[in-house]
């Protein structure tokens, strides 16, 4: 069974230390995630690849306690649904990334805590592959 990413060009894979793939504007320097072909600040179309740092701090968070509407959601629904955390992780000097969080207990999440990028199982596709996505976990 292969482990395939939810989308190409989203994070370096396969990798022991995966990184998110963003873009940096050659004109004004702003970093975006995911990568995009034009700059949302200065409208330049000169965007270069930027691999994001793997660690950041939790800037905002909540929990997703019910299955999101499907489509577009393709993960386990109904009784198979498992609540997950969601938040923005501020990667210093780069960007705030919205991501799944591995922790769902509100008592164990707090703004400002250090977080690290991980790649986690998301669902199994029709061919039997394990589809994986990016997430952040608290650094113990």
């Amino acid at each position: 069974m292969a482990r395939v990413p939810i989308a190409e060009g989203l994070f370096t894979w396969p990798s022991q230390a995966p990184q998110l793939i963003g873009a940096r504007c050659s004109a004004c320097g702003i970093v975006t995630f995911p990568s995009q072909g034009s700059c949302p600040r200065c409208a330049s179309t000169k965007m270069g690849e930027q691999l994001l740092s793997r660690r950041g701090r939790l800037w905002a968070w909540t929990t997703q306690d019910f299955p999101p509407p499907s489509p577009p959601y393709t993960g386990p629904g109904g009784d198979a649904f498992v609540p997950f955390g969601v938040g923005y992780i501020e990667i210093p000097g780069e960007v705030k990334v919205e991501a799944r969080i591995t922790e769902t207990d509100p008592e164990r999440l707090r703004e400002g805590m250090e977080m690290e990028l991980v790649v986690v199982p998301f669902r199994t596709d029709d061919a039997g592959n394990e589809v994986v996505t990016f997430a952040f976990r608290p650094v113990a």
């Binding site: 939810i6 600040r41 800037w59 306690d65 577009p72 705030k96 998301f122």
Partner: protein, 380 residues
């Protein structure tokens, strides 16, 4: 040129099996026309807002095929504010004397669905479950509570106020008061927001007749003047719905920009406002929007809510008709429902939920995906 509101009409909000959105729109229009003592044939132009109905202008089949310019508008949760702003601006251009803005919708129950690509978001963003508005509201209020010392009890108090006010409003969807304990104990949807802290998409329609201010007395003994009506979209760095990423530097959101522009245009400040309708998609949104629209400083809500400042008899009544929490959100109509309520309040004709002390200035605010806000300021 100044613009007056001389008629308002509403089809109740809720669930109406077998009644189409267009039919509800026609009911709202007829009520607004009757309120202004005019006939459909007197209306010279129209703007129609809806999410579910492709062509709200089809309502002419039920009203009369008079050949008027009728432009359809969709602008997310700010749809109704956009329809009203465009109607007011059409009066200001000078070619027309009397027009109408109408909004109508009929949503199926449950959170809104959509294709993330239509919001300039990648497909994977929806596949992994991020393309949902409710978790944005959970994150925004959770951060706000942490940063500004707002308690869970305050969230429950805001929701309880909405249902209490809704119980006094014969047009509301939810008319049963709910105890704070019950609200806190309902199912957690997106921490810290529980089921009864969220509004629901539903059905309804509302309409507003506008005219040149100098002619307002021809139509109404109680004209209400539209002092400002503004729409703004988010700037880079604002924390908004459906954002896969944000830059490191923060920027105030679309509501703050729309609010400041409206105050400047009206020459009116938050201290002059007597009655307020805010976008309470959830109880937390009302708390945040109080500060974003200049009605208190960040964090003051904790004390002010406890004191009852935003109750109908309080210092600054907010969401007197029950807001979105008690009325639900038919997107195209929601903002015109706010205008309807403020007009009734400023006329002194809001019945059981009338704000005491002859309110003279009213304020409405809408906010929604993907970061669009609308603000209107009205006065006697």
């Amino acid at each position: 040129m100044d613009v007056a509101i001389v008629g308002v009409g509403l089809h109740p909000f809720g669930r109406f099996p077998g009644v189409s959105a267009i039919e509800m729109g026609a009911v709202a229009i007829r009520r607004a026309l009757a309120d202004a003592s005019v006939e459909w044939r007197d209306i010279q132009f129209a703007f129609g807002g809806s999410y579910e109905v492709d062509n709200p202008d089809a309502v002419v089949a039920l009203m009369g095929l008079t050949g008027i310019p009728f432009t359809d508008v969709y602008n997310g949760c700010a749809t109704a504010a956009s329809a009203l702003t465009l109607a007011a601006n059409t009066i200001r251009l000078g070619d027309y004397e009397l027009g109408i803005a109408v909004g109508m919708d009929k949503h199926v129950p449950g959170a809104f669905k959509g294709d993330p690509r239509d919001y300039a978001c990648p497909s994977w963003y929806g596949e992994i479950g991020h393309f949902i508005t409710t978790k944005f509201f959970g994150m925004k209020i959770n951060k706000y509570m942490h940063d500004h010392g707002i308690s869970h009890a305050t969230l429950a108090k805001v929701a309880a106020k909405a249902y209490r006010n809704g119980a006094r409003n014969p047009n509301a969807f939810r008319r049963k008061p709910l105890a704070e304990k019950e609200i806190l104990a309902s199912k957690m949807l997106n921490y810290p927001l529980t089921q009864y802290m969220f509004c629901a998409p539903d059905e309804g329609a509302a309409a507003v007749v506008v005219c040149k201010a100098e002619h307002a007395r021809r139509y109404s003994d109680h004209p209400i003047y539209l002092r400002a009506s503004t729409v703004r979209t988010r700037r880079l760095g604002a924390f908004e719905v459906h954002s896969p990423w944000l830059p490191v530097e923060d920027t105030p959101g679309a509501t703050v920009d729309a609010s400041r522009a409206a105050y400047e245009r009206a020459g009116i400040g938050p201290e002059d406002v007597d009655v307020v309708q805010l976008q309470d998609t959830d109880a937390g949104a009302e708390i945040i929007h109080l500060a974003e629209n200049g009605f208190c400083a960040d964090g003051e809500q904790e004390k002010l809510v406890a004191e009852g400042a935003f109750e109908i008899g309080g210092r600054l009544p907010v969401n007197t008709d029950g807001g979105l929490l008690a009325n639900g959100e038919p997107i195209g109509a929601s903002g015109l429902r706010q205008i309807h309520e403020v007009v009734l309040q400023l006329r002194g004709r809001a019945g059981d939920r009338q704000v005491p002390g002859n309110p003279k200035v009213g304020y409405t605010q809408l906010y929604g995906a993907p970061g669009t806000a609308g603000v209107s300021i009205l006065s006697v």
